[in-house]
């Protein structure tokens, strides 16, 4: 193996790349747009959901409940309460989409409170939108907890005016947050960085490689004494350098947009470079293995969207892997995106050190060695 031949292939690719900024632009614009649009679309707090309130009890207890409900609603402004006189009117408007849920206080609510007989209120939801219903349900849980604490479990119907027993039977959960609140745009950033490297791999390692092949440019190199290994290594390293450049650019621009704290921490930047470098090598070698026997220029264009969906979404970039069904988890295990996203999240969201990312780097590195070896084995040196 001669290094001068590998460096000649790298030089060729770099000169072509620097002369045509289209690759760099396209590898940056899409992930940045996705980061901004998805980040702000999913990251915002849901506000002003219209909820119908039907009070058929109309007693002091139900009024107390309504006042507490109004207080909870007033804080985060998640909901906007509309009072209805009958459940049937509210149900009609729920079906028509004018309100997203109904809080129904039945006529026997106060009686059950007095009897200590499991007083009930109903929550009827339009569950076609999971995000909205889970948000309202969260607020409803707050309401129920608040009411339960106000009612004396030992003397039904009486407020807690007597001294509390020594052992409080209600468990109080204390929540400790390790990190400051993470906005969704920060959560999404790791996926966008990996996406920019994927686009470089797709365009440089897929589309340009096949285009050059179909234009006959490869024939000019295959008649020289270059070996298969030298050619694949040259193409992989040049692609990885471009991937690293794109990844670094998105890390900085995206990090500034998302507001990552202490972005310029030199130790973290060093670890980021290692992760971006190994991710670039892994993605480029993955692409070469897919394209090594392809000669039709339409193929990489046709599978671009498929690969994007298949690699990006199962990676945990936009939703945690723990929420996937079993078959989708298997895809995430063999997806280089998964390890890149995991390592980038550890560095960008938690500023974790090397122990948090070394397994990802080892997996991505091993992945690259296997994929490059397979690409060399399958590459046809002859026409």
């Amino acid at each position: 193996m001669k290094f001068h031949r590998i460096s000649a292939i790298i030089e060729r690719a770099m000169r072509k790349f620097l002369r045509s900024p289209a690759l760099m632009m396209s590898s940056m614009i899409f992930p940045l747009m996705q980061l901004i649009v998805l980040g702000y679309a999913f990251g915002g707090k849901i506000k002003g959901i219209k909820v119908a309130l039907v009070d058929e009890d109309r007693t002091v207890y139900s009024r107390d409940l309504r006042e507490r409900f109004d207080a909870i609603v007033a804080g985060p402004q998640t909901m906007q309460v509309e009072n209805y006189n009958s459940l049937s009117d509210a149900t009609l408007d729920l079906r028509a989409g004018f309100v997203r849920a109904i809080v129904y206080i039945p006529v026997d609510y106060s009686r059950r409170v007095n009897q200590g007989n499991r007083p009930r209120i109903a929550f009827i939801e339009d569950n076609t939108d999971n995000f909205v219903t889970s948000e309202i349900l969260g607020r409803m849980q707050d309401l129920v907890t608040d009411i339960n604490q106000s009612l004396n479990p030992f003397q039904p119907g009486q407020p807690l005016t007597v001294p509390r027993p020594r052992l409080n039977p209600l468990v109080d959960l204390q929540v400790v947050e390790l990190y400051p609140y993470i906005e969704y745009i920060k959560y999404l950033l790791s996926g966008s960085i990996a996406m920019s490297i994927f686009i470089v791999a797709m365009i440089g390692g897929g589309i340009t490689f096949i285009d050059d092949k179909s234009r006959g440019l490869h024939e000019g190199y295959l008649v020289t004494p270059i070996t298969k290994t030298e050619l694949i290594l040259g193409l992989t390293f040049s692609g990885a350098i471009i991937g690293l450049m794109a990844g670094t650019t998105i890390t900085i621009i995206g990090g500034l947009i998302a507001g990552i704290d202490r972005l310029w921490d030199p130790v973290r930047l060093f670890y980021l470079m290692i992760v971006l470098g190994t991710t670039s090598v892994a993605m480029i070698s993955f692409m070469f293995l897919l394209m090594v026997r392809v000669s039709d220029p339409l193929v990489p264009r046709a599978i671009f969207g498929v690969l994007n969906t298949l690699l990006y979404f199962p990676s945990g970039a936009i939703y945690p892997v723990e929420g996937f069904p079993k078959w989708l988890r298997w895809i995430s295990y063999i997806d280089p995106f998964t390890y890149a996203v995991h390592a980038l999240k550890a560095l960008l969201l938690k500023n974790s050190g090397f122990p948090a990312i070394y397994s990802d780097i080892l997996i991505l590195g091993g992945f690259s060695v296997v994929l490059v070896s397979l690409s060399v084995a399958f590459f046809k040196r002859q026409i």
Binding site: K2, S7, A8, R15, R19, E219, G220, V223, T224, Q382
Partner: protein, 332 residues
């Protein structure tokens, strides 16, 4: 005592089969050091497959080929170092400049920086592209790109050059320039050149020897002159006479080498093995018989006649047939 002549290329029973289709059928020939050797044949005759086997781009199914003393299968890298190849497709990088294209290739062959700095300007000068050294190849005409690729193929000082249809798609001026360049290469650098072409005039003008390839078979191999001489009665003498006596055409048929005589609108068409000899005898006979010769002309044998003789059809017929085949679905 002179040194024994070493062949630059030796091809023995070389065969290439793609599935059921045999593209090259056990072809054998040798190319002598320092000659321009032409593979002439229509599209699809197997010329490119042959050249690809000799340049290690395609593995042969069977048979053997030695190029520059290296076996194309056992010592492919030895072959690659000894040859320069100009493939049929334009293979220079349009996104790079002429100099960059040259430099990348020079590095692939391991030339030192000093060698690159010395050779690249010289080679670009020799193909007339000095003033375009730093211009992007994407802005070049087809002829300029072909000249650049010839220079690029010479960057490692090969002993043998392969040119696959070097002038296909070029305008007449560019073709002439490329022809001049090829001739100059042979004369100045002492290169052995193997080229493929389907242009008769190109093969006739450039090649020391020509191999006619048809349907994967080598049907004839010799110098252009000898190939033409091998075609019987291919010279045509046209003459117009005054005062020709009765039976004059029958008399002409008895001249040496004449195969047939026909007359059309007062012009005699005489098919003969040797046009010049027939003209001399015809003039002598006319003077003796008192016949005035108003006009006489000789059309020598062309490589078209040679191709027709050896393959049973004309090269241009083959080309038009292939076009008809390609377009046949439009007429259904």
């Amino acid at each position: 005592m002179s040194e024994p002549e070493i062949n630059a290329i030796e091809v023995t029973k070389l065969k290439k089969q793609f599935g059921d289709f045999v593209a090259v059928k056990e072809v054998s020939f040798t190319v002598r050091t320092g000659e321009i050797f032409g593979l002439l044949g229509p599209n699809g005759a197997g010329k490119t497959t042959l050249i690809r086997m000799m340049t290690t781009l395609t593995p042969p199914t069977s048979g053997m080929a030695e190029v520059g003393g290296h076996d194309v299968v056992r010592d492919a890298n030895g072959v690659r170092r000894a040859i320069g190849v100009i493939p049929q497709a334009l293979t220079s990088d349009p996104e790079l400049t002429a100099r960059e294209n040259m430099m990348i290739h020079a590095k692939l062959y391991g030339l030192t920086r000093a060698e690159r700095e010395r050779l690249i300007p010289q080679l670009l000068e020799s193909v007339g592209l000095s003033e375009f050294t730093n211009k992007l190849v994407g802005s070049f005409s087809g002829g300029m790109r072909r000249r650049l690729e010839i220079a690029r193929g010479l960057v490692h000082s090969p002993k043998i050059m392969f040119l696959d249809e070097p002038t296909t798609g070029l305008d007449p001026v560019s073709r002439t320039t490329v022809w001049e360049m090829i001739t100059k290469l042979k004369e100045s650098a002492g290169l052995t050149i193997l080229l493929t072409t389907h242009y008769m005039d190109e093969a006739d003008k450039l090649c020391d020897r020509i191999a006619i390839v048809d349907h994967g078979v080598l049907v004839a191999l010799d110098t252009p002159t000898k190939l033409k001489d091998s075609v019987p009665a291919a010279d045509i003498v046209e003459a117009e006479f005054e005062n020709a006596p009765a039976g004059w055409n029958d008399t002409l048929e008895k001249l040496t080498g004449v195969a047939s005589v026909s007359e059309h609108e007062g012009v005699c068409h005489i098919s003969t093995n040797s046009g010049p000899l027939t003209v001399r005898e015809l003039m002598d006979l006319a003077r003796d018989r008192g016949v005035n010769v108003r006009r006489v002309s000789v059309q020598g044998t062309t490589l078209d006649d040679v191709f027709l003789y050896y393959t049973g059809r004309q090269l241009r017929d083959e080309a038009s047939e292939s076009v008809k085949r390609d377009l046949s679905h439009l007429y259904k």
